[in-house]
Symmetry: C2
Subunit: 296 residues, 2 copies
């Protein structure tokens, strides 16, 4: 038996990831009791779908949940839900927070400290996956926090994931996640340069991808993004804006440590340029718009 199925689950941040994680948990027999999103109609619709209650006040959601998953966009939003006038920590004694956004590691540490202070517990659970994996409980999860809290909440984390790594104290999972995305973003921008030059030279890009896949140029992003780059199919799984944000987090970590990272910098510049061009909501494959002739 999974004792967590007797607990009330709250969800804050019902974007494509958070909303689908709520659906996944509901389908697996969890009691999703409370949902909240800045977009109130999204919350109302999901509440209706899952038999939950949609809240507009964070403290009221806390009162109606034992385990609260947060899936917000960035550091600023995270600060707002934990440290704003109305916040999740009010009356949170005994609650567990599982924070899934990719944030600056220090933010996770600050939130954990504040949660402990009010008698709550806290995990960071960084996701390296996309929407279908959220929906199907097949996330890749990297968890930071106290190891005992991790083990106590493992049944629910297992149900959300197909790969679950306990990484270390609060902040460590965000560090690892930032490095994962930093390397992924560089490899993506690299592929966009290779295909962009190949296109300009009149090389058959299908053949080029086939050769890349059999050589030292092979990478996961070659599998996931090459065809989208060629076809300009930039429907969003992981946005250019998120890529810029995560590369920025990694750059800040590198700067703190005094590590020289010219490729991460060049990649941040590219994704930031996409955002500046109003293309931040393209998928990260949209970075090829900057390297194929005639696209910008």
């Amino acid at each position: 038996m999974n004792p967590m199925k007797d607990r009330k689950i709250g969800l804050v941040g019902l974007g494509r990831m958070g909303g689908n994680m709520a659906r996944c948990l509901h389908e697996k027999g969890y009691h999703v009791s409370a949902v909240l999103d800045v977009n109130e109609s999204v919350a109302a619709e999901l509440a209706d779908e899952l038999g939950a209650t949609a809240y507009t006040k964070l403290s009221e959601l806390t009162a109606d949940a034992d385990v609260i998953l947060t899936v917000v966009t960035d550091d600023r939003a995270m600060d707002a839900i934990f440290f704003g006038d109305d916040n999740l920590l009010a009356g949170a004694d005994g609650c567990v927070f599982i924070n899934c956004a990719t944030l600056t590691p220090a933010v996770h540490q600050r939130v954990e400290a504040a949660a402990i202070k009010v008698g709550a517990q806290c995990l960071e659970a960084c996701m390296a996956s996309s929407i279908p994996q959220a929906r199907n409980g097949e996330l890749f999860l990297m968890v930071g926090g106290e190891e005992s809290v991790f083990h106590a909440n493992q049944p629910l984390l297992d149900d959300l994931s197909k790969a679950l790594h306990f990484v270390g104290p609060a902040g460590k999972a965000s560090e690892v996640k930032a490095l994962v995305n930093m390397v992924m973003n560089i490899n993506t921008a690299a592929l966009a340069e290779g295909l962009g030059i190949g296109d300009a030279l009149g090389i058959d890009l299908k053949m080029l991808c086939d050769i890349f896949s059999q050589t030292g140029a092979n990478s996961r992003v070659l599998e996931t993004d090459a065809e989208d780059m060629i076809l300009r199919d930039h429907d969003c799984y992981f946005s250019a804006a998120h890529a810029a944000k995560d590369s920025g987090i990694a750059l800040a970590l590198a700067a703190e440590q005094g590590v020289d990272t010219p490729l991460a910098q060049a990649t941040w510049n590219q994704f930031t340029r996409l955002v500046t061009l109003g293309k931040g909501e393209l998928d990260k494959s949209g970075v090829a718009e900057l390297t194929f002739q005639g696209r910008t």
Copy 2:
């Protein structure tokens, strides 16, 4: 029957690749008749090993070979063997040249034109593999030139390779090869940044590599270079100097086409910096020496 086994094979450039290709062909029953290297004692030893003749004059090697494989280091060396005072084209009527160096594509076009003028034939056969593959006839070969010449020489090319791609007219194989290595070099420098930051943050690097391998950060160079970066095992399979050279060829192609390639540029800068530091003969994994604290 393979009619190429009746032909006399010459090899010019007996470094770790060329020497092992000669051994491979000899072992497979080809008649390696003539060898030449700027290092005359290397040529003499290999000639002794294979029962071939070591030449010091290029025109004399041509006179003793029907099919001549060249495996030189760079554009300058290629110019020297084909257009120097003593050169391979003298008396080359009826010969086939198979040129395996990664060069500026225009050099292959110039050599092909000059070969045709003297009644010879020419292929570029760019290799994306390393020393053991050369020795075992398991190269990844990308061939450019006239398609009929490719087909006529396919038995020998097949015996050298486990993957053989005809890419297009002379110069196209070098273009593809330059793009392969450009992307590979970027991915390598990216990995060095990720591991360097992770090391500075005190993250367990074995765990970090394990997570990279399961996420969007995965790449072929993660498999081949990560452990070497961590252990500082930079025994050379593909040198930092070669990485700089090949990224430079790709950058020149990009510049000719007006394609913006900031990551390729940043990567060229890194490998060039290694060369400047006197570390050009480290393996390309040596780029991590620039991103791990306390190594430079």
